[in-house]
């Protein structure tokens, strides 16, 4: 077994264990911190796929931005660690249905995919391919996505600005 394989399994176990921590922890603060392990593990998977840019974008956006935002919300909530949930079993049946449905679809996808064992992935920068892809073949979806993001930004500003809220009553 080569070193890369050992590392791959180490990262895979790390990702799955921290994902389990996110799902099963009774304390939502622990879930939020465990999410960091999951996101880091997924970034490591991207590195194994020779997608260095995507891996770093994952760390930058998800850990540096989204996770911090979530932690922010969690930490500002009063007594969140001792939240008293009166009926834990209420979501069990829908959760079982959804999980088994997703599991079926994923299992089918895994089973039917023609897996290729890549031997040596190119060590070339993936940024060139991503850049030309964004501004070449996929320029329309790229611009549409940026337009949607811009609309969201303007909307967020409009919602949070005090004078605009007051003017509408």
């Amino acid at each position: 077994m080569s070193l890369a394989v050992v590392l791959f399994y180490a990262f895979a176990i790390f990702t799955v264990v921290s994902a389990a921590g996110v799902a099963f922890s009774p304390n939502v603060v622990y879930s939020a911190f465990a999410l960091m392990g999951t996101l880091l593990g997924v970034a490591a998977m991207y590195v194994f796929l020779a997608a260095d840019f995507v891996a770093m974008a994952q760390v930058l956006v998800y850990i540096g931005g989204i996770l911090v935002l979530m932690l922010f919300a969690v930490m500002l909530t009063h007594r969140i660690a001792t939240a008293n949930i009166s009926n834990r079993s209420v979501g069990r049946v829908p959760a079982l249905l959804i999980v088994s449905g997703v599991g079926l679809i994923m299992g089918r996808a895994i089973y039917r995919t023609n897996w290729v064992l890549g031997t040596d992935l190119p060590d070339a920068p993936s940024t060139y391919a991503i850049g030309t892809g964004f501004l070449g073949t996929y320029v329309l979806p790229f611009e549409l996505a940026s337009f949607v993001l811009l609309a969201v930004l303007v909307g967020a500003v409009a919602i949070s600005r005090k004078e605009l809220r007051d003017a509408q009553g």
């Binding site: 603060v29 622990y30 840019f53 760390v59 540096g64 911090v68 930490m75 500002l76 940024t127």
Partner: protein, 400 residues
């Protein structure tokens, strides 16, 4: 790094017969350990001593001068003392997260050194995405600070942690946008690639490339100081308001680890600024001896980077702390728009300015910079003369 590994596993090398896939990680881990224990930790420690001495000079005090010559070994004494101190965990704190947080902070900071260059061949990993990697792994520090703030179960700590997170997340944006002009110019994210695109002479540095990169340098440096929680942006640990912010409840070595990150991070800031704007390790090819050249490159890079550590000390000793609202105003209303203008301006510059004119601008800006430095020193001399000091008042000797 790859050449070094290849030479080691070649016939007669120290690791002859070891396959490349095993030798490369081995050499990298060994070199990484060397960097961490032989460079990062001493640099952080020595910076802590030097900072206290420099402040003392600026504020007409003496500073630590008892341990070793000029107090130089103070950092070792402090480290030993803190290692031997009791590690107190408050009974109301979250034990696991409280213990974990300092390590996370240190990991986020030490991980940046994987992509920090030292000479043209000495770098742990010359990643294709070096500068992006450094920006990204710094995000782990934020999570560590938030963890410390929350798990301490103390209102000062929580406020400090939240302030820190808000500040770092905000200032990441002008800092990231100020990297863009350089990436546009070089077409690469690799640290070594960016340095190779510059020259040893000041007019070949991106600092003097055009007015936009010149402005981007200042935006980046200020944003980096704010990201590193340095005065005048140290509101997360503002002593006058929050006791010690997110590290209020920490004691012993765990407390020191936060400051290890802060002091060590100064060198990282200096190294990034040097790489992006000041030509990195570029030296004129004065000799054929690769060893001598490497030493010169290391010295050049280190001096440039450490100069900015010194500037940060200077700033800390002279400027008062900003308020939270001022901090956010500076970031979102001034620095982000300026950074966006820099980016668009550089893109337009690449499209519309012919090469000869660009060259002239580089020389002109370098000349202007030289004139500013000369005027500054003339001014200092003028004031020193006008003050009509006795020779004993100059107090030049730092030996106390």
């Amino acid at each position: 790094m790859k050449d070094l590994v290849l030479s080691l596993i070649a016939e007669g090398g120290a690791l002859a017969g070891v396959p490349f896939s095993l030798a490369a990680p081995l050499v990298m881990v060994a070199f990484g350990a060397l960097v961490v224990f032989g460079f990062v930790l001493p640099i952080a420690g020595i910076t802590s001593w030097l900072e206290r001495r420099v402040w003392a000079r600026i504020q007409s005090r003496i500073g630590p001068n008892r341990v070793g010559p000029q107090g130089f070994l103070q950092w070792l004494a402090d480290g030993l003392k803190n290692l031997l101190k009791e590690d107190i965990i408050p009974s109301a704190a979250d034990k696991w997260l409280f213990s974990l947080a300092p390590y996370l902070v240190v990991v986020g900071f030490i991980a940046t050194f994987a992509a920090v260059p030292f000479t043209s061949s000495l770098i742990i990993a010359d990643l294709n995405i070096g500068i992006l990697y450094i920006t990204a792994v710094t995000g782990i520090v934020v999570v560590g600070v938030l963890m410390a703030g929350w798990s301490s179960n103390n209102k000062w700590s929580l406020l400090g942690g939240i302030r820190s997170a808000a500040q770092i997340v905000s200032y990441e944006i002008p800092a990231g946008l100020s990297v863009f002009p350089i990436v546009l110019l070089t077409g690469t994210l690799s640290m070594q690639g960016i340095i190779r695109a510059q020259g040893w002479a000041p007019w070949d540095w991106f600092f003097f490339y055009n007015p936009f990169t010149f402005a981007a340098f200042f935006v980046f440096f200020v944003a980096a100081l704010a990201e590193g929680n340095r005065t005048p942006f140290d509101i997360p640990e503002a002593e006058s308001e929050l006791v010690a912010g997110f590290c209020t409840e920490y004691s012993g070595m765990r407390y020191l680890l936060f400051f290890l990150e802060e002091w060590g991070n100064l060198y990282v800031i200096g190294a990034i600024v040097t790489t992006l704007f000041l030509g990195g390790w570029q030296v004129p090819a004065f000799t054929d001896n690769p060893m001598l050249l490497a030493v010169a490159q290391f010295g050049t890079f280190f001096l440039k980077a450490y100069f900015f550590v010194f500037v940060a000390m200077w700033v800390r000793a002279t400027l008062p702390r900003v308020r939270v609202d001022q901090l956010m105003t500076v970031c979102w209303k001034y620095m982000v728009p300026i950074a966006i203008v820099n980016m668009l301006g550089t893109a337009a510059w690449m499209l519309f300015v012919p090469e000869t004119l660009g060259r002239l601008v580089q020389f002109g800006m370098t000349g202007l910079g030289a004139v500013v430095v000369v005027v500054f020193f003339r001014r200092v001399r003028f004031h020193l003369r006008r003050a009509n000091l006795k020779p004993s008042d100059y107090y030049y000797s730092p030996i106390i």
